[in-house]
C-alpha cells in the first residue's frame, strides 16, 4: 500500500505563524506540492501575510509578492506580463487570497484579470470570514453564521444571506478551469492543482479552509470539520472546464446538522434554521448534480 499519497517535497517551512490547526497552512502546503518550485505567488494583506512570518523571515520556498488588499488579480496580470516580456514562460503565476479579499474587496481586479485572459491560477482560501482582523462577516460567511459583526443579539442579527456564488460568477466571467478543493481531501486537491497548472488562461480554485478560532472548533477537529462540510453536501467537490461540470466526490451522506453542530459559530441555530439550510443545501446539490449530467465521479 503506497505510504505517501501526495508528493513528499515541501515548499512551506516549519516555524510559520499560522494558528494551531490552521486550515490555510495545510492548504498552502498541499497546493505547493502540486505547483512545485517554478511558481510565484502574489498575496494581499490577510491572514496569510501574517502566517508567513515576520521580516526578515518568510515561510514559503517560492517567490512571494505582497500587495494591497484589492488587487490580487491585477498584480498577477503584472507579473505575467513581465514574465512574458522577459521570456520566462515556464512559471506558474498564483494569486492567493482569502474569501473577503476575493469576493468582496478583490472582486474588481479578479474580474479584470480573468477578462484579460491573464494566464494565472487564482486560489481562494475560504475560511468564511475576515479572520485576520478577528472574525468579521465577509461575502463568504455562510447563512445564519455567527461572526463578530453578525453577533445575533436581541435582534437575532446573524448572517442573513448565503455565500456569494463566486464560482458561478467567475464561470460567467470566463475562467478556463474552475474547481473546489478541501484540505480534507488532499489527493483530490493535488490532482486538481496539477491539472489547473497545465491549463493556459485564468483558472480559479475555491478551497475550503477551516479556521479553529473563527469557526469555534477545537484545533484538533480542523480537518474533520472540513471533511464533514463535503460529507454534508455543504461544500461539494467538483470541477468546471469548457462549459462542463464534473462531480469529483459524490459523498453527500450526512445531514447538515452534524456539520453545523460541530462548530460553535452555529450553536445558536434553531431547528427551523437548520431545516432551512438543509433544504437549500439539498436544492443546490441537486442543481450541481444536474449540471454534471450524471455524476462521472472519479475516485
Amino acid at each position: 500500500m503506497p505510504r505517501f499519497t501526495i508528493p513528499k517535497d515541501e515548499y512551506l517551512s516549519k516555524g510559520h505563524s499560522g494558528c494551531a490547526g490552521c486550515g490555510a497552512t495545510l492548504l498552502a502546503r498541499f497546493c505547493l506540492k502540486a505547483l512545485g518550485p517554478k511558481t510565484i505567488i502574489n498575496s494581499p494583506a490577510c491572514c496569510w501575510s501574517v502566517v508567513q512570518g515576520v521580516w526578515p523571515r518568510a515561510a514559503l520556498k517560492v517567490p512571494v509578492i505582497d500587495h494591497a488588499f484589492e488587487c490580487t488579480g491585477a498584480v498577477s496580470s503584472g507579473i505575467r506580463a513581465a514574465l512574458d516580456i522577459k521570456g520566462m514562460d515556464d512559471i506558474t503565476v498564483v494569486g492567493w487570497a482569502g474569501d473577503g479579499g476575493t469576493v468582496d474587496i478583490g472582486l474588481q481586479s479578479l474580474s479584470g484579470a480573468i477578462d484579460r485572459r491573464t494566464d494565472f491560477l487564482y486560489i481562494m482560501y475560504d475560511n468564511e470570514a475576515y479572520m485576520n482582523t478577528g472574525i468579521q462577516c465577509s461575502g463568504c460567511t455562510p447563512l445564519y453564521a455567527w461572526t463578530n459583526t453578525t453577533p445575533g443579539g436581541v435582534r437575532q442579527e446573524w448572517k442573513d444571506v448565503g455565500k456569494k456564488r463566486i464560482m458561478d460568477m467567475l464561470v460567467a466571467n470566463g475562467i478556463a478551469y474552475g474547481a473546489t478543493v478541501s484540505i480534507a481531501y488532499p489527493e483530490d486537491l493535488v490532482a486538481k492543482v496539477k491539472k489547473a497548472k497545465s491549463i493556459r488562461g485564468p483558472k480559479f480554485i475555491h478551497a475550503l479552509s477551516s479556521c479553529p478560532p473563527g469557526w469555534k472548533i477545537p484545533s484538533a477537529k480542523s480537518v474533520e470539520v472540513a471533511r464533514l462540510a463535503t460529507q454534508a453536501g455543504v461544500f461539494p467537490l467538483f470541477e468546471y472546464e469548457n462549459g462542463a461540470y464534473t462531480l469529483s466526490k459524490d459523498v453527500k451522506t450526512k445531514p447538515v446538522e452534524e456539520y453545523l453542530m460541530s462548530q460553535g459559530r452555529f450553536k445558536h441555530l434553531t431547528p427551523a434554521m437548520i431545516a432551512d439550510i438543509q433544504t437549500k443545501v439539498d436544492e443546490e446539490y441537486a442543481v450541481l448534480k444536474a449540471k454534471c449530467q450524471g455524476a462521472g465521479a472519479s475516485a
Binding site: K14, G15, G18, G21, R29, R57, A220
Partner: protein, 92 residues
C-alpha cells in the same frame, strides 16, 4: 543587524521561518505509540506545521517538538488511534 545601514534596500526576506521555535505555543504534545502505528503517514500528511518527520518511506513518524504547536490534528486523524495528546509537563 545593528543599524539602518545593515538593512536590505527593501523589505524582502532573508531567511526561512525554520529557526522560529513555534513548539513553545503548545500546551499538549502528541505521543506516537509505535506498537499501534501502521506507518500510513496520515499524521505526516495532515500536519499544518510540518512537525511530523518521516526520513524514508517505511520509517516511523517522529514528532519535531521544536515546531509542533500541539494542535492535535494528527491524533484526531490517526486511523488506529496511535497518537495521544499529553499535557506538557510544566516547569513550575
Amino acid at each position: 543587524m545593528e543599524t539602518y545601514r545593515d538593512l536590505p534596500q527593501s523589505t524582502y526576506s532573508l531567511q526561512t521561518t525554520e529557526s522560529v521555535r513555534t513548539g513553545t505555543w503548545r500546551t499538549f504534545r502528541p505521543v506516537i505509540d509505535t506498537k499501534k502505528c501502521t506507518r500510513c503517514y496520515t499524521c505526516w500528511k495532515f500536519c499544518p506545521d510540518l512537525s511530523v518527520d518521516v526520513k524514508e518511506e517505511g520509517d516511523f513518524p517522529k514528532v519535531d517538538l521544536d515546531h509542533c504547536k500541539g494542535c492535535g490534528i494528527c491524533a484526531n486523524e490517526c486511523p488506529t488511534g496511535a497518537i495521544t495528546m499529553l499535557r506538557e509537563d510544566t516547569i513550575c
